[in-house]
């Protein structure tokens, strides 16, 4: 049973790990491979700041709320192990700021210690009049991808750097099941008018005294278009850019100014050294595409499981989606009568 995962961002690697760990014990012939043209540190996951935080509004697909929760719980359980830092995982507290009172988010009971900001706290942010304080998680994309790569390598999963031109090519190459984790460029393999790039640009600075995230919101401008400051393990990510339909991979000087001015206004202590600047593309879609499809190339069927379109919340939702993809994979195995016994639940 050959499984090819296309894509080596957080979705591809976590899905590969989840499927391998759940089914390898019961299916000796399971052979999982990862094909991708870009690996860490060149994926979009590497650009993400890594803060666990869903969008403020409820997702159109209620399953996504469940997947977010599963991811948070999974990560929280790893916090207590010495491996947490190796995974790029840490607890972090911080501020969400608004220009006016807003309803509490659906995830207020998922994060820890959610509360409203006190007047003295709001005094620190003169442009804002309302806000939340809560404890959440950081999952640094680059470190997490390295960790996932190590775990997969230990398990004998093979990686192959190649540009996949078509699903047919992978099917004819011998894949029984293809997991499509191609993110923002999924449209190159199968047109998807609902998928668009949400271009983001970020600046990383060295500001180790910053211990809190600060995310601002401006409903008129939309999500990710308002300044945010998110400390990672070593560097602090400054952002606030979201441009739908923009495929430019080049750092833009206007965007740089906008991020820098917005963040310095928000946090006057930010007289910090710029370490790097980069651009990434959020795979924006009205909802995540997580479903099966059957392909027919010639005489054989190839099962396809799509897992892409996670917008700006890929790290936030990844494990729940990996579990769901693994469940769909299990259905394939059952249909093909390949399972000797029920898979243990992860």
């Amino acid at each position: 049973m050959r499984v090819v995962v296309i894509g080596a961002g957080v979705i591809g690697l976590s899905t590969a790990l989840c499927i391998h760990d759940r089914y390898q014990p019961v299916l000796q012939s399971l052979d999982v491979r990862v094909y991708a043209d870009r690996f860490t540190p060149l994926t979009n996951t590497d650009v993400a700041a890594g803060l666990w935080q869903p969008y403020l509004s409820n997702p159109s697909n209620p399953q996504e709320t469940h997947w977010n929760q599963q991811t948070f719980d999974y990560l929280l359980s790893h916090l207590h192990s010495p491996n947490a830092a190796d995974m790029g995982l840490a607890l972090i507290s911080g501020y969400n700021l608004f220009h006016e009172a807003v309803p509490d988010p659906s995830w207020k009971d998922i994060v820890l210690g959610f509360r409203k900001l006190t007047p003295r706290e709001l005094d620190m942010f003169p442009d804002y009049s309302y806000g939340w304080f809560n404890t959440s998680l950081i999952l640094e994309g680059k470190r997490y991808l390295q960790w996932l790569t190590e775990r997969l390598t230990e398990r004998g999963v093979k990686f192959s750097q190649r540009k996949v031109e078509s699903l047919e090519e992978v099917a004819r190459g011998g894949a029984d099941v293809i997991i499509n984790c191609t993110g923002v460029r999924a449209g190159e393999l199968q047109p998807d008018p609902m998928l668009q790039p949400g271009r983001g640009q970020i600046i990383k600075v060295d500001a180790p005294w910053m211990k809190h995230f600060i995310v601002t919101h401006d409903p008129e401008r939309g999500i990710y278009r308002s300044p945010y400051i998110i400390p990672g393990i070593r560097e602090v990510t400054l952002g606030g850019i979201f441009q739908l339909g923009n495929w430019s991979e080049v750092n833009n000087i206007q965007d740089h100014k906008s991020i820098w001015e917005g963040c310095c206004r928000l946090e006057p202590t930010l007289k910090a050294e710029i370490v790097s600047e980069c651009t990434g593309f959020r795979p924006v879609r009205p909802q995540v595409r997580l479903e099966r499809e059957r392909l027919r190339f010639g005489p054989s069927n190839t099962e396809l499981i799509h897992n892409y379109g996670h917008g700006g919340y890929g790290l936030t939702i990844h494990w729940g989606c990996a579990l769901e993809a693994a469940k769909l994979f299990g259905e394939v195995l059952e249909e093909r009568k390949l399972l000797r016994m029920p898979p243990s639940h992860l």
Partner: protein, 389 residues
């Protein structure tokens, strides 16, 4: 100490190894420029109708912050900070500098709360300004956790820190050995960055730093008009105070940049304080122990206790041991004293004995010390002799 005859007549005890820490003659006082290097300046002036010459003994947190406050309250003064140790070699450099007050049995609670509030508010405005990085002051959130219910669930300082509340059940799950906890946001003030920043401020307002060990406060007479005693444990000798004693604290400074929260066990014995360039792991509270050398067994114990609270610390690296002796006293001594010997008089303001609570109280007590110095200065200025200050 060698006695020399100065060219101006009279003699004085010339301290050995005298050198100005800052070789520049700042000469910036309100009474014009003057050649002043160390104690020699006394020979170029008459009695203090013009400049009040103030010596601050001690260059730790108390000495430096008092030296910053004095010129703001005392008109026409000169400030000289004299100490055997300067940053980074003071006790204040070892402390993590987290603002969580320590309770003093002999100091009224309303006073402690006032000093803590003054310190917090002062540092809070620095933390929100462009100076924050240079001053080493910033906000940090975290948890204080208890293995058994504390007698006081809400301490006196709860409304001074930010966002104080009880921890939720979900938050307590992270600490299975603990039954109760408090979550809040407070400030961290890093000695090795804050002290040099204070030194700069002292110099900018015309103060001098003089590295010199003082064995007896009378050495400062008659070169100085008022002495401020911020010598911490040195007061056992300099002020004959037997109520001050060391509480030895050993800590580890480690690299663990993923830690963003402080964790403090309510007993005060185990704590994890993330800083700008390292994380402080503590600690010990060994009363009466003067030993400044780190103990390897204690280091292992500290590390193990902290890993029990925060398992990710097993990945910490570059572990360094440090020891500081907390200048502990039942209450902070903030008091004027007029030393008298034969016909000599020397007004002293004592400002020491903060134990574990130095950083938490320093600005409030420095302001009060400066007020006391001003009272002494006013008394000096009046022509009638004073029998007692």
């Amino acid at each position: 100490m060698p006695v020399v005859n100065s060219p101006m007549g009279g003699s004085f005890a010339f301290p050995q190894s005298l050198r100005a820490r800052d070789q520049l003659l700042t000469g910036k006082t309100s009474v014009g420029a003057r050649a002043f290097c160390g104690f020699q300046g006394c020979f170029f002036r008459d009695r203090p109708m013009d400049t009040v010459r103030i010596a601050v003994v001690g260059a730790g947190l108390m000495g430096l912050s008092t030296a910053v406050c004095i010129p703001t309250l005392v008109p026409r003064c000169s400030v000289t900070v004299i100490a055997d140790k300067f940053t980074p070699d003071t006790t204040s450099d070892v402390a993590a500098g987290i603002l969580i007050p320590h309770a003093y049995p002999d100091t009224p609670v309303h006073k402690q709360k006032q000093w803590f509030r003054e310190t917090f508010d002062h540092l809070f405005s620095i933390a929100n300004s462009a100076e924050a990085g240079d001053a080493g002051v910033y906000l940090v959130s975290g948890w204080q956790i208890f293995r058994s219910m504390p007698t006081e669930e809400v301490p006196f300082w709860a409304d001074v820190v930010l966002g104080f509340r009880k921890m939720t059940e979900a938050e307590l799950k992270k600490f299975p050995q603990h039954v109760f906890g408090q979550a809040f946001t407070t400030l961290k003030c890093e000695g090795p960055v804050y002290l040099p920043w204070l030194e700069k401020r002292v110099k900018r307002s015309g103060g001098l730093m003089v590295p010199q060990r003082i064995e007896d406060l009378w050495e400062l007479h008659p070169s100085f008009d008022i002495v401020v005693n911020c010598s911490g444990l040195g007061s056992r000798q300099l002020a004959g105070d037997s109520t001050i004693f060391p509480v030895r604290g050993q800590v580890l400074k480690v690299q663990a940049p993923w830690l963003k929260h402080f964790i403090r066990d309510g007993s005060g014995l185990t704590y994890i304080y993330p800083g700008t360039s390292n994380v402080t792991l503590g600690g010990t509270r060994q009363k009466g122990d003067w030993n400044l050398s780190p103990d390897a067994e204690i280091s292992r114990d500290i590390f193990s206790r902290c890993c029990a609270l925060e398992p990710s610390l097993h990945r910490a690296c570059d572990i360094r041991e440090k020891v500081g002796l907390r200048p502990s006293r039942p209450g902070i001594r903030l008091q004027k004293e007029l030393l008298a010997q034969d016909s000599r008089r020397l007004p002293v303001v004592h400002h020491y004995g903060h134990g574990s609570g130095g950083f938490s109280m320093h600005w409030g007590t420095a302001l009060e010390a400066a007020r006391l110095v001003n009272e002494c200065a006013q008394a000096l200025g009046s022509p009638a002799p004073k029998s007692k200050l």
